[in-house]
């Protein structure tokens, strides 16, 4: 994706939005036919903004919401043509004309399909070519503008001063304003005094209203969108409205009797023009002059209620046309769900469990936070090598009698730091609609991560149940095959890792050469693989290279449960010294301070984290409260919360997960004066982070923006030492309260981050 075609795609999308806006403006103009032309002229401002400014705000009143468009709220650009069109196996666009699907299908069927064999997608090449044509058009038009401007400037060199900023010239056929910084009025020689006063008043009005700047700006926007015929039409109409509203302003300044003289001036000057000005090929309807003269003659001081109505129409059109539609969310409710299943593992070792209805609520809540968005190309899930999909959650729902299936694909977005075997989980939510179309939705990263943790928890608990129940579940029949599966998994991967490089004696080289196999232990093996390998150690079946590899895998799987710190031991020595630390179960943190708002926030955050926590451990949170506002019966609190989940093995703490996420929490005061959680708005991730925070930094009831708050939150986010310190303070308090005398937390480099005996942790 080159920057140029990226830019072109943005312009193309803006152009499509602008086309809708232009059509509506043209229709509203008809409505305002009888109103002062000023209103029609003002309407075009909306289009100008749409053509130049790629971003917009979202509102419930957006006209574009009536169209069938997926809003990309994260960038503020509506996308009909995806930036990733070059990477789609079957390129499609969506114009948003829901009722006229034939347009889309006609366009889409003409788009070239990706050729899997070719290294470059034909659509990509097309986009590159089109963007070059677009650029060429801009260059040509800019050159034309600059050259014609220079030409006219040269003609005007010999224009002679009349007075002030008025010059007369024998080289021009009509009066106009020229110049951007100090605009001057140029008048043709030989205009009668009567006409002159009107002409000058007209041009002065242009200057007062900054028209001489607005028009070039509009023309510049037109150049950017030169491929859009609707914009040429709009520019012509806008110029008309500009002139007519200028005429009206002149009449307001002079008096009503000026009508006759003014219209005669218009007439005589248009007659004077000799054959050199050829008829405009874009001519349509009655000539410009005729329309203007009629407008001048019919001009009356507008009636009060016409003014009011026009103002209302103008403001209404402004809001509905300037704003983008609110992003639509999935709207699942418990009643609609028919079943949920979770499939994990890759093709060759898939296993599917169905999820209990008790756990549905959590998933529905998660899915409902998903925004419809195109997932950036680099995060696209695939069944291939790069980002294999490891979990698919399938939700079958029945909405308004139509079956819908959501499948949530959780896949590894490999970190650059592959050698740590760390993954960053990304999620993509696929929603197949009843019309057979599939839409890709995106979950904010933080939500995704929680969901992933939660899903893994469910899977673990299900599997544990199956093992503990000694076969009361439907998976019992697989029990034996499960153990043989695990044995096969471990042995297969170990033998592949041991296969090369034969020349080395360093076990790490073997692991480095087979990262994928090494990772399989963590992806598919987990606790079961650990148990199997420990039995191998017990049986003395862990010698040499095999033992070295197994020891490394076991250490990593054990994490903080490994009590042996001596790294020099042989695998069998290590196993002899190993006594797996037992987990000490602790409750979640509880706030014991007096501050009513802090109490609410702590309770909410703990509640949220524990609801999605199926994986054990205890939760500590540390919120920073920026501000809280109470309006009527709503209380809105703005926080950034550092939340972390720990497990305690013996006296070793292990951090199992954590997040630092800004949020706005809204509570409603009920009759008894208690505050009930009403809404929890969380910052989005990636490019949605900033806009999502700006979006929720508003008053709870009136929705007015709270100035400077978002910036405060951003600033803090880059340096959150304070909540880190608070987190450790709370952790210390919590451990003490639970009579833990000694506990240490080490970071991934093995340095002590936190210690009860020496609580001077670094901020």
């Amino acid at each position: 994706m080159s920057t140029l075609s990226g830019l072109f795609t943005t312009i193309l999308n803006m152009s499509i939005t602008a086309s809708y806006v232009a059509v509506i403006i043209i229709l509203v103009r008809l409505l305002l036919r009888k109103a002062p032309k000023f209103f029609s002229y003002a309407l075009w401002a909306v289009l100008l903004i749409r053509l130049i400014c790629p971003l917009s705000f979202t509102s419930d009143f957006s006209f574009l919401g009536l169209l069938n468009i997926d809003s990309r709220s994260n960038s503020g650009v509506l996308e009909y043509v995806s930036k990733d069109i070059g990477f789609m196996p079957e390129p499609t666009i969506q114009s948003g004309t829901g009722s006229m699907d034939s347009i889309d299908s006609a366009v889409n069927s003409s788009l070239p399909q990706a050729a899997p064999i070719a290294s470059v997608n034909p659509m990509q090449i097309w986009m590159e070519v089109l963007s070059l044509i677009w650029l060429a058009g801009i260059v040509v038009l800019l050159l034309y503008s600059v050259i014609s401007y220079i030409k006219i400037k040269r003609q005007l060199l010999t224009a002679t001063l009349v007075k002030g900023n008025i010059y007369e010239s024998d080289r021009i056929g009509t009066a106009f304003v020229c110049g951007f910084i100090h605009p001057k009025i140029y008048v043709p020689v030989g205009v009668g005094d009567a006409d002159l006063s009107y002409i000058l008043e007209h041009e002065r009005t242009h200057i007062q209203r900054k028209d001489y700047l607005i028009k070039p700006l509009a023309f510049f926007a037109l150049i950017l969108h030169w491929f859009n015929p609707l914009m040429w039409l709009s520019f012509a109409l806008m110029s008309r409205d500009m002139e007519m509203s200028c005429d009206e302003r002149v009449l307001q300044k002079m008096n009503q009797d000026a009508k006759g003289g003014y219209s005669l001036s218009l007439l005589s000057l248009s007659l004077k023009r000799s054959g050199l000005f050829t008829a405009n090929p874009l001519a349509f309807g009655e000539s410009h002059v005729k329309a203007r003269i009629k407008n001048v003659i019919n001009y009356k001081k507008p009636v009060f209620w016409v003014m009011i109505a026009s103002v209302v129409v103008l403001i209404g059109a402004g809001i509905t046309l300037l704003s983008n539609p609110q992003p639509r969310y999935a709207n699942l409710t418990l009643e609609n769900i028919e079943s949920m299943t979770l499939t994990s593992g890759l093709d060759d070792r898939k296993n599917t469990v169905s999820i209990d209805p008790a756990d549905w609520v959590e998933i529905i809540n998660m899915i409902n936070t998903a925004k419809r968005s195109n997932i950036a190309e680099e995060y696209q899930p695939s069944y291939g090598e790069l980002y294999p999909i490891i979990n698919t959650l399938t939700v079958s729902a029945n909405e308004q009698g139509a079956a819908k299936t959501y499948s949530l694909m959780i896949y590894n977005h490999k970190d650059w730091d592959v050698f740590h075997g760390e993954y960053e989980y990304k999620l993509a939510l696929n929603c197949s609609l009843e019309n057979g179309k599939t839409e890709l939705w995106g979950l904010p990263y933080a939500e995704g991560y929680r969901l992933m943790e939660w899903i893994n928890g469910i899977r673990d608990s299900k599997q544990n149940n199956d093992i503990n129940n000694g076969g009361a579940s439907d998976m019992d029949s697989d029990m034996d095959s499960d153990t043989t599966d695990i044995a096969k998994l471990v042995e297969d991967n170990i033998s592949i890792i041991m296969s090369s490089p034969k020349t080395s004696s360093n076990p790490q080289d073997y692991i480095n050469a087979h990262q994928n196999e090494y990772e399989n232990f963590f992806k598919y093996g987990g606790e079961d693989a650990l148990q199997y390998m420990l039995t191998q150690f017990e049986a003395g079946n862990a010698e040499g290279l095999r033992g070295q590899i197994m020891m490394r895998v076991c250490k990593e799987l054990l994490g903080a449960r490994n009590n042996v710190t001596d790294e020099s031991l042989s695998p069998q020595e290590w196993y002899s010294a190993l006594s797996i630390r037992q987990e000490i179960l602790l409750p979640n943190y509880e706030y014991d301070g007096q501050d009513r708002i802090e109490k609410l926030v702590y309770d909410t955050e703990i509640e949220r984290d524990s609801a999605s926590n199926k994986r054990g451990g205890f939760i500590i949170v540390a919120p920073k409260i920026f501000a809280s506002y109470e309006e009527e019966d709503l209380l809105k609190v703005f926080v950034t919360t550092y939340s972390a989940r720990y497990k305690l093995f013996g006296n070793t703490l292990s951090q199992e997960g954590g997040s630092i996420i800004p949020a706005a929490i809204t509570y409603r005061k009920d009759n008894s004066g208690r505050y009930i959680l009403e809404k929890y708005q969380q910052a989005g991730d990636g490019s949605e982070f900033d806009p999502s925070i700006r979006e929720y930094c508003t008053m709870p009831v009136s929705g007015r923006e709270i100035k400077g708050l978002a910036d405060k939150i951003f600033k803090h986010y880059t340096n959150y030492g304070d909540i880190r310190t608070l987190l450790y303070d709370n952790l210390f308090k919590h451990l003490k309260k639970n009579r833990i005398k000694d506990a240490t937390l080490a970071n991934s480099q093995g340095e002590v981050e936190f210690s009860m005996s020496n609580p001077k942790y670094k901020p």
Binding site: S145, S148, Y149, K151, I152, Q155, L157, T158, T160, L161, Y167, S169, D170, R171, I172, G173, T174, A175, F176, V177, C178, P188, V189, G190, I199, H202, E203, D211, Y212, K215, A218, F219, F220, F235, S239, E243, K259, G260, L264, L267, L269, S270, L271, K272, R273, S274, G275, L276, F277, T278, A279, N280, A283, S287, H288, V289, K290, I293, K294, I297
Partner: protein, 119 residues
């Protein structure tokens, strides 16, 4: 003596010289800036053009006229526009009127409309 034809701006320029000749060219530049709003370069360009056409002469920085005021005829401005102005105005300038002429018939029609209205 044949009649010399001058454009409007040239005529105004020549007028300054007839009124003030002989005139030092530096002084002429000052006068033109003052009366016509011309840049120095414009003054010299027009001076050179008219010297080439043997209407003025510039000798040792002193400018004099070679023809008399009564031997000069001004062009009709309409004719001038035809001759010297080619192409239309750039689209992005705000003009009193656009680049479109009206037919005789239309003009008649509009005259009547205006007369009706102002009666």
């Amino acid at each position: 003596m044949e009649k010399y034809k001058l454009f409007d701006a040239e005529y105004k320029f020549a007028s300054i010289i007839w009124d003030n000749e002989p005139i030092n060219s530096t002084e002429l530049v000052r006068l033109c800036a003052d009366k016509l709003g011309w840049k120095k370069s414009t003054t010299y360009t027009v001076l050179k053009k008219l010297s080439d056409r043997a209407i003025l002469q510039n000798k040792d920085a002193v400018v004099t006229a070679l023809v008399k005021r009564e031997d000069v005829q001004r062009y009709e401005s309409n004719a001038v526009v035809e001759k010297s102005f080619n192409g239309s105005l750039p689209k992005f300038l705000t003009a009193f009127l656009g680049d479109r002429k009206i037919t005789e018939q239309e003009a008649e029609e509009l005259k009547q409309i205006i007369e009706e209205a102002v009666k």
